[in-house]
């Protein structure tokens, strides 16, 4: 089950979202139901678990553990369905805040700082992958275990201070580290001829302010694509 968690989003789609992935991860556990693979209990559980479900992919491990426990304990189907509906929101929002908006940018900033300070490519990549994946793999393993231990009462495990207050601390640490990393990484790329740095700084502030002012009406990378395409055109025809 643990290894299958890494492929939980393999058949992600806009209708059942992670639903098929949940059933895929649970399948080895469900073989232990009375009658085994060919049994009625297995078929009923597989059908139930392959319906709609959505959560952060790492914290979906919590649901997988809890659902495996519930199915093997013979918890009524209606109760299992209610759990799936209730778990979707918290497992999505906690994971998004902790990982996508917290730990991932933190690790990016750490790697950018390492680059800015002149670390070798292997060190930069190794640092990023080791830092990120220690938490990534630990989160999946903890989630599966917490779900299995607590079953459908796993909400109490989600109340741990790390998950409740952790995201805010990680965001502050990311802000500090990224602020530290950005200038030195930029200098590291520009290389020789750093006299243009003042102009770059002015441009960065102006463009960042413009992107922020757009407030989601246009993605920053699309704006950048447009600006760089215009510059390329200018540089090739002048």
């Amino acid at each position: 089950m643990f290894l299958r968690l890494f492929a939980i989003q393999g058949a992600w789609n806009y209708e059942t979202m992670t639903g098929n992935g949940i059933a895929f991860c649970l399948e080895p556990a469900l073989r232990r139901l009375p009658g085994g693979r060919g049994g009625a209990a297995y078929a009923e559980a597989m059908a139930r678990q392959s319906g709609y479900f959505n959560a952060h992919p790492y914290l979906a491990a919590v649901a997988v553990g809890a659902l495996a426990r519930a199915e093997l304990d013979g918890i009524p189907a209606a109760q299992i369905e209610r759990f799936k509906v209730a778990a979707t929101g918290p497992l999505g929002s906690i994971g998004d805040r902790l990982v996508w908006a917290g730990w991932l940018p933190f690790c990016s900033a750490l790697a950018l700082l390492a680059f800015g300070l002149g670390a070798a490519p292997g060190v930069v990549v190794g640092l990023f992958l080791a830092c990120y994946n220690i938490v990534h793999v630990a989160l999946r393993a903890w989630g599966l275990r917490a779900g299995w231990v607590h079953g459908l009462r796993v909400a109490q495990a989600l109340g741990t201070p790390i998950l409740r207050q952790g995201p805010a601390h990680v965001t502050r640490a990311t802000a500090l580290l990224a602020g530290l990393a950005l200038p030195s990484a930029a200098v590291g790329i520009i290389g020789p001829g750093r006299a243009v740095l003042g102009g770059v700084l002015g441009g960065v502030i102006a463009l960042a302010a413009a992107i922020t002012a757009l407030q989601g009406r246009a993605d920053g990378w699309r704006v950048a694509l447009f600006v760089l395409a215009l510059f390329t055109l200018f540089a090739s025809v002048r």
Binding site: F6, A7, Q9, G10, A11, W12, N13, E15, T16, M17, N20, A23, Y42, A43, E44, M46, A47, Y58, G92, W100, L104, P105, C107, S108, A111, F115, G116, P121, V125, L129, Y132, H136, A168, R172, A175, L176, L177, A178, G179, L180, L182, P183, A186, I189, G193, L197, V200, G203, V204, T212, D219, G220, W221, R222, A224, L225, L228, F231, T232, A235
Partner: protein, 231 residues
């Protein structure tokens, strides 16, 4: 396309496929982040330092687009392979090399994002086709659907990498000769836009957390002092 890259096209396609797969489907270990994917590609081509350079530039852009749930976001895995494969073989100091590599990588990331969106619709269609078997509780149908999704994503990333490289490499080689800007100015342009996108992304991420904007300001102050010392 330079001989070096042509000879390496098949392995690059495999790299693009594997790193494209990592974005969402398997194993989401962030091997697909530009700072990793581009460096790996550079390493594969024998110049990891140049891969890292383009990877760092793309990483600034990628700070903006985290893989939140059902949202559509650029696919950085295959795009980083393309960016590094275009930049790495070009002689150091060539004006506009990074500019064109990043430009193509950004376009590829957008195309990749659209192809992931399309794949999700294909996955839904495949799921509908298997609906009767899945509703009857067929474990093999569930596993087959998962494997089909994984395989399709792998193929998607590989095809995208090959298609873009086949078109972009001759086009960028031709354009490189026509550009009239210095290497420093073109790099500064890339770094300027990339840093701006990264800074705006950090502001968006941090502004809802009490105190985070101050941490960012303090970090930037220290960062500029540090960068000044590095100059």
């Amino acid at each position: 396309m330079s001989e070096l890259v042509l000879g390496q096209l098949a392995p690059l396609a495999v790299l693009g496929a594997l790193l494209g797969l990592d974005v969402v489907a398997f194993p989401q270990a962030m091997l697909s982040r530009p700072i990793v994917a581009a460096t790996l590609t550079g390493g594969f081509l024998g110049v990891p330092e140049r891969g890292l350079l383009v990877g760092v530039a793309l990483e600034f852009f990628a700070l903006e687009s985290m893989p939140f749930g059902a949202t559509r976001y650029p696919e950085w895995g295959s795009a980083s392979v393309v960016g590094a494969a275009l930049f790495a073989p070009v002689a150091e100091g060539t004006a506009g090399a990074m500019l064109l590599a990043v430009l193509v990588a950004l376009g590829t990331a957008g195309l990749g994002g659209s192809s992931v969106h399309l794949l999700r619709r294909v996955n839904a269609a495949l799921a509908r086709r298997q609906q009767v078997r899945i509703a009857r509780g067929s474990g093999s149908a569930v596993v087959a659907l998962q494997l089909a999704g994984l395989t399709a994503d792998l193929v998607r990333g590989g095809l995208l990498t090959v298609a873009v490289l086949l078109v972009a490499r001759p086009a960028t080689t031709a354009l490189l000769g026509a550009l009239t800007v210095s290497a420093t100015l073109s790099r500064a342009m890339v770094v300027g836009t990339a840093s701006a996108v990264g800074l705006a992304a950090l502001w968006k991420l941090g502004r809802t957390t009490p105190g985070a904007p101050w941490y960012l300001a303090v970090g930037l102050g220290a960062g500029f002092a540090l960068a000044g010392g590095l100059l």
